[in-house]
Structures are given as C-alpha cells and as structure tokens.
C-alpha cells in the first residue's frame, strides 16, 4: 500500500512560464503555491502570481535555481509539504529528489532511483531492451575510458557508419558527434568526451547508429504509486533546431493506429519495467520504414505537455500532484490514446531569427499575446519585464487546437499574426515563415529538416517586408516622430530623441 500524503503548500523550484503553470494547477486544487526567485527575477510573473516568494541567491543558476540547500531552506521557511521541480534545472537530478525525500518533503516526480536509472543513457537502453523494446543499434555499455583506439574502431565497425558518439549523461545535443568515416572516429570520441566531461561532469560516451531522416516521436505517460501506467497519444517533435525542439504537435501524421498501439504499449512496458511513477516521456526515433527505436526517457514534465492536455482534456500537472499524494490514476486508457482534434505548440523565444537565432535579451516594452478560439498562451512574461541573460530566453508557449491539423495550422498562423511585442526580437517571424512551408504543411519532415533548410537559406530574412509594408513602416516612423509631444511642443522638424512620457493613453490625433 503506497503512502498517502496531504499536500497543502508546494514549493515550486523553478521560474518562468512553468512556475506559473504549476501555480495555476495549485490554485485550482486549493493548494498554496510558493515561488523562489534569483536576483534578476524579483519582478517576474511567477513571483507575483505565488502566495509566497523567497529569494534564493544571485542570478546565475548555479547560485540560485540549482542550489539544493537554498531551495530546501525556502521550503522549510514556507512550511511547504511538497516540491515541484518543473523542467530543466534540478528536475532530473536524483540528488535533489532524494534530498527532498530526506527532508520529509513530497517530491512531485518519480523516485530518485528511477531518475538515476533513466538518467544514464546506457542503463536506460538496457532497461528498454529488457522490456522487449527495440533500441537504436549501439554499444550496450559505455566505452571504457582506457579503451585503445583500435578497440574503439572495432566497436564502431560492429555498429556501422554513419554513427553517433553520445554522452552517457547527455542531453540537448551536448557531448554528441556524428562520425561518417573511420578516420574521424578517434578525434570525435576525444571531443565528445571532453565536452561531456565539462557539461555533465561525466566523460563517458557510447556509440549509436545514426538513422537517416528519422522522426522524433515521443510518448507521454503517467504512472501512479499503485502500479498503474497509462500512456498517451504520441507527440511529434521532429521540428528541431540543433537538437532543440521548436514545434511540437499531437497526434503525428506519421503514426497509424497500429503504430500508435505498438509505440504506446512499448513506452508503457519500459515505464512498468522500472516501476515508474509521476509524469514521464519515452522518446523514440521513427525511421523512414516505420520502425521505431527507444531513444531515452525524460523523467519529468516536458515543455510540450500542453499539446497532450489540449487533445485529451487532462491536466497533467494536476495528475502529477494527485499521484504524488497517493491517488489512483483513474484515467481511461482508451481515451488517453484517442486524441480529440489536433494541437500544435510553438516555443516563442526572445531570439533574433534573422541573426542566426541569437538571443535578444532586454526590456519587453509591450506584449499582447494571441487569444480567442482554440488558443492557449502559457507565458511567464509581461510588459515591463527584462528577459534575463541568465536563462533560456523563452517568452511563452503558444498552443493552437482545432478539429484537425490543417485547421490547427491556419489557427496558429492567425495567432502568430496577433502576437504584439516591442522592445525585444522574437521567433514569431520565423514561425510565420515555417507555417507557410509546404513540407511543414504536408508533414514531410524529419529531425534534420529544419537545420538543413536553415543552412540552405543561409540567413535570408524569414519575413521580407513588401514595398507596401516598407512604406507603412516609413509612415509609422515619421508619425511616431511627428506625434512626439516634444516635436509637437517645439513645432520642430526634429524627431523625438527621447522616450515618450507615456501614462498609457490614447491621443486622438485626427
């Protein structure tokens, strides 16, 4: 019999949109949300939205959001009885989960043991194999640190080229190298080991065959403390830029009902094999022939969880909390696998897509998110805030739902057109371009699609203003200057050179 916990106050060990998202679930459950904040996040929305807020240190993540001691201090000061890690930061850190448990706090996520097991890519692959789930052909164990170059070469021969050198503790494409010919092997292993060592504190690497043009398909699942595991309809996350997901959707155009049954039951088998509890995601690669391979498991809530919520009507964060307090997962397995309509998510970042997606931190002067039928905007940003330079520059997750994929695509295009922002650059023009590409509209893409097409574009602007739009921009700039109180007062021909005094108001100027 699993223990039953009362949860009345949750410390949210995260920031930004996901901290707001978790707070919303807390409020709907009558639970008090407690925020933490680093120096630069004092004014952030997640702080304003919470019931209580605790400062946990300087802005750099290692001094605040990654400080287990300070998070536990805050939980203790607040009298919280549970901790939600969100995603990123400490969400997949077994030590943090264990520290919460040791401090008598309910960790809203899987056990430290499950996190540690699935955190090792080779151990996770072994678990999948044991559960009868195919994995990408590769070395079963990490390469020994003292393995001679010729033995490394023989291991590679057994896998076949092209292959990937991957970090055992990897994620986000770090410590990963593609090798197409034996001559490059030794150098790639050295480079990957060095990168993995500095990124994860663990230099171990292994080999995986590189599939050609695979899709990234993943299966969300929930497991309770009573042995029930429910997998959900798959998510398609093949639109990636440098191994980072950019667009996610559900269901996938590439997955037939039979394939869905096979992939989701495989995912559930892996989760059951490791006694998984809470929300987790099994990532697969799907090759061009329709075969799928276990890639890894994410032992946390995913960024892209809202698309699954939109087509199933379930609240995954609420279920995480309910599971953590010992409730039974009474979700109908058939409805979890039967999407109602189609949902797509765009990750809106403060980046300049026309300058190689360079981050664009700074003050958000204006922000008006899209709304109306079928649109959900999960945001941690408001006008008046700075996008800090210390974290992922995500502004919001824009999600469109409609009865079917074509209508979800046009709805997303409509919503992108409503996204009003000033002061920072965003990826909205990039998405406006992407959602007009035939490959995207027809679903003909794979994990390398976006990088290939971006390379071929070679930095051409995503939205090129027409001559008419240039005229309107010139008119707007001239009137912006002409309508400046300073210009008006002086009757001058000089445009305004200073910020407006703005007491937000409409000036009728006709």
């Amino acid at each position: 019999m699993a223990p039953s916990f009362i949860v009345k106050k949750i410390l949210i060990a995260n920031r930004g949109e996901i901290a707001v998202r978790i707070s919303r679930a807390c409020r709907e459950m009558g639970i008090s949300p407690v925020a933490v904040y680093s120096e630069c996040d004092r004014a952030a929305l997640h702080v304003r939205y919470a019931d209580e807020a605790y400062a946990i240190g300087p802005s750099a993540p290692r001094d605040s959001y990654l400080r287990i001691d300070r998070l536990l201090d805050a939980a203790r000061a607040a009298g919280a009885d549970a901790v939600h890690p969100g995603y990123g930061f400490l969400a997949e850190n077994a030590d943090f989960a264990a520290a919460c448990r040791d401090a008598g706090l309910t960790f809203i996520g899987p056990t430290p043991e499950a996190i540690a097991l699935m955190g090792s890519k080779t151990a996770a692959r072994a678990a999948a194999i044991k559960a009868g789930v195919p994995v990408v052909p590769g070395t079963e164990d990490p390469l020994a640190a003292d393995l001679a170059d010729d033995e490394i070469a023989r291991a590679a021969e057994r896998i076949g080229y092209p292959l990937l050198v991957k970090a055992v503790a990897g994620g986000g494409g770090k410590g990963m190298r593609t090798v197409t010919a034996p001559a490059d092997l030794a150098g790639a292993v050295r480079a990957a080991r060095s990168e993995a060592g500095s990124a994860f504190g663990d230099a171990a690497v292994y080999f995986e065959r590189r599939l050609t043009r695979p899709r990234h398909i993943e299966v969300q699942l929930l497991g309770d403390q009573h042995g029930t595991v429910v997998p959900f309809v798959e998510r398609e996350c093949s639109i990636q830029r440098r191994h980072q997901k950019v667009v996610e959707e559900t269901p996938s155009l590439a997955v037939s009902p039979a394939l869905r049954a096979a992939m989701t039951s495989s995912a559930a088998a892996v989760a059951r094999a490791v006694g998984y509890t809470s929300a987790g995601t099994i990532e697969f690669l799907l090759d061009e022939d329709g075969r799928f391979y276990f890639l890894e498991m994410n032992t946390r809530l995913q960024v892209e969880h809202p698309v699954t919520e939109m087509v199933t009507g379930l609240d995954l964060v609420r279920w995480q909390i309910a599971i953590a307090r010992g409730e039974r997962l009474d979700v109908d397995p058939a409805s979890a696998l039967t999407p109602t309509g189609h949902a797509i998510e765009c990750r809106i970042y403060a980046e300049d897509p026309d300058n190689n997606f360079l981050p664009s931190p700074g003050r958000i002067l204006q922000l008006r998110a899209p709304a109306g039928p079928g649109i959900r905007d999960d945001s941690g940003a408001t006008a008046g805030l700075d996008v800090p330079i210390f974290y992922d520059p995500m502004i919001s997750k824009l999600i469109a739902w409609a009865e079917d994929r074509p209508r979800a695509v046009v709805r997303m295009r409509r919503a992108l057109g409503e996204y009003l922002v000033a002061g920072i650059k965003t990826t909205v023009p990039f998405f406006t371009w992407l959602f007009a590409q035939p490959e995207f509209i027809e679903g003909r893409f794979h994990t390398a699609y976006l990088d290939e097409v971006l390379k071929a574009r070679n930095g051409r602007p995503f939205v090129e203003p027409s001559a008419d739009v240039e005229d309107v921009a010139a008119i707007a700039a001239a009137l912006h200057a002409a309508l400046s109180p300073r210009a008006a007062a002086a009757g001058s021909t000089a445009p305004a050179a200073r910020p407006w005094k703005t007491q937000a108001r409409v000036e009728g100027l006709r």
């Binding site: 190689n356 009003l420 739009v469 005229d471």
Partner: protein, 170 residues
C-alpha cells in the same frame, strides 16, 4: 515636418502635413492619406487610405535603429538628418555601415565554446567565427561582410562579459 528615413537600404524623403483630422504624408512625392492614433508609447494604429495597420515602434531612444513592426513583420528604420547627417538612429559601431573594420563583440555574457577562425584567414559574409554558450544555447557569431581576420581575442573555454571584443576583421 520632413524626415529622411532609410528603410530596406533605401533612403526616402518623407513629408508629414497635418490636415484637419488626418495626415497627408508623402514618400518621395507619393501621397498617402493617413489617420493615426497613438495607443501607447510603442503602439500606433494607422489607417492608410482604408487599410488598417497596428504598428509598434521601438526602441525609441538613440542610438539603436528603430524596429517598426507592421503587424508582425519587423522592419528596420533609420532616421537621418536632412543634410545626410545621421541624427537619430546613429549606430555606435561603424562596422555595420559597410566600410572599415568589423569588430565582433560578445552580445551577452557567456562562455566561448569554439573559435573557428585564425588571424590572417580570409572569411566571407555570414561565416561563423566564434561559438558562445549563453542563455542555455550555443550561439554562433558570424562575419557581417567578407574580409580578413586581423585579431582574435577569444579563447575556447573562456568566460566573457557582454561587449567583450572577440574578433576584428579587416
């Protein structure tokens, strides 16, 4: 009121004349009737003829150029003095203007992950020079124009502050 405004690489002569409750605007002599309302510091509603546009204008402080968003299409706009002197939107870095050395600086604090060029090497426009890890991402800094690498100040593994000079291209 008259302005010299550069949009899309081309300078336009813009004349604004208030006519009762509307504006007569001409761009290089082409006339537009504009009904304009300011919503707030950055947002204008324009009706040009009958066509409606919601436009944001930001930042409105020198020395950066203006970004005018017509709907969601960003357009870079620069004011110039009537006699050709940039008096508004003058850029701090002459490397952008099209002549002189390019000075590539770190746009934000971060860590140098890779240095891809050496002194004396010829580079072409948009060629990657340095990879900086910041804000959880690896970011490539690229050459703006063709040239030859004159100085490399970046070292792999080094932490840099915003504005730190990394590469100079002659």
């Amino acid at each position: 009121m008259q302005y010299e405004i550069e949009v899309g690489g081309r300078r336009r002569h813009v004349v604004v004349h208030r006519e009762g409750d509307r504006f007569d605007v001409s761009i290089d002599g082409r006339p537009f009737q504009v009904n304009a309302v300011r919503i707030d510091a950055q947002v204008l509603s324009l009706i040009v003829g009958a066509a409606s546009f919601e436009v944001t204008v930001a930042p409105d402080a020198a020395p950066a150029p203006l970004i005018v968003r017509v709907g969601t299409t960003p357009v870079v706009v620069e004011f110039q003095g009537l006699n050709g002197r940039r008096r508004f939107g003058q850029r701090g870095d002459p490397a952008d203007v099209g002549t002189g050395p390019q000075r590539i600086a770190a746009p934000m604090p971060g860590k140098i992950v890779r240095v891809l060029v050496k002194t004396g090497e010829a580079v072409v426009a948009r060629q990657p020079l340095v990879v900086v890890e910041a804000m959880k991402m690896e970011n490539e800094l690229r050459a703006r124009r063709d040239g030859t690498i004159a100085e490399v100040h970046a070292k792999e593994g080094q932490s840099v502050e915003a504005g730190a000079l990394l590469v100079v291209i002659q």
